[in-house]
Symmetry: C2
Subunit: 203 residues, 2 copies
């Protein structure tokens, strides 16, 4: 591969990621369902045919946008978590709140808004969003199990139940923050989770 | 007012409520933002101009739909609650779960989906949805305060915090039920709330 072709490929990749970043941001404001090639072309200043060359169809564009938002979530939340067990659980939660508060997406968590919007529209787009939610709940549940294994949380707690309770607080904190732009919902969710983890502490 | 005119008014009202019922149902599947006069005309088998005579604009239609969904929520949830204090709180919660499980709206709680969809779109439609959420949280909080006054819940609990925690469980149960159609999310939310209320019980 010559230098010229390498550069062209790198440009293509950069531009693809930049387009999809904008698509994900737009989706948290106007909805993933409203994300047409025409609307996105307008937002990124490209021709509709130029975008069509990248994505081919609205559904492909939506799937690529979910994958890009997943990569962002991995960078902003999963990769910021540190340690193992209870430490990992706490740092995952902190990273999620930071991801919401710092407006990584202008309309709050990409997945909360997209899944709520498309929950009644069967198909590969909805399926990929549900997959993400299952994976995220799985991350929380695995951290709970590890925290039990290390003896930091009571072995009698049901890990799936505890993961559900933590995610409920995160999910509603996101909704409240987007609506009010005040830190109150996030503070209340922190208090909810701190209290719950204290009750689940072993010994 | 003659019999004929009374009948015409009654027909007009009935038809208005039936149209708005359909509009609210449609909004939980396709979104309140996508609820155009044209789309609704198609769903209820009326002409667009006939609907225009009823509502005048998309925004008026959206506001009327929210008011109709509010009346439904009052009938299905608020008016089914019984008693005072802790009994009222528990029956409000039960009625909310029933409202979700029995598909009063096909896409789950109308307000959860509409508010998530329109949270980033300032204007009177969003404002009316936020008003509803504040009112609902206020209902939960008032029941907590009454439960404290009657001595059933600990006076040291912050009523707004407890209302937040209950609503977080309800909100995520609704999202989970819509996505999975399984009772699991609702069972988990029940367990979350039962446990929390047991911890908040006085004595």
């Amino acid at each position: 591969m010559g230098t010229k072709e390498r550069r062209r490929r790198a440009d293509g990749e950069r531009s693809r990621r930049a387009i999809l970043d904008e698509a994900a941001r737009l989706a948290t404001v106007e909805g993933l369902g409203g994300l047409s090639l025409a609307r996105l072309a307008n937002a990124v200043g490209m021709s509709k045919s130029g975008l069509f060359a990248h994505f081919g169809s609205k559904e492909e564009l939506q799937l690529a946008t979910i994958d890009s938002a997943t990569a962002t979530f991995e960078e902003q939340v999963l990769e910021r978590a540190a340690g193992l067990g209870l430490e990992r659980l706490r740092t995952l939660i902190d990273a999620f709140f930071r991801y919401v508060e710092t407006d990584v997406f202008p309309g709050g968590c990409f997945f909360a808004s997209a899944l709520t919007e498309l929950s009644m529209q069967p198909g590969p787009v909805r399926d990929r969003l549900v997959e993400f939610l299952d994976r995220w709940l799985g991350e929380l549940e695995a951290a709970v199990r590890d925290a039990q294994a290390e003896g930091a949380l009571d072995a009698d707690e049901d890990p799936a139940q505890l993961a559900f309770e933590i995610e409920a607080a995160l999910f509603f904190a996101n909704a409240g923050f987007v609506v009010t732009r005040s830190p109150e919902a996030i503070e209340r969710a922190r208090r909810t989770i701190d209290r719950r983890l204290a009750a689940a502490a072993s010994g």
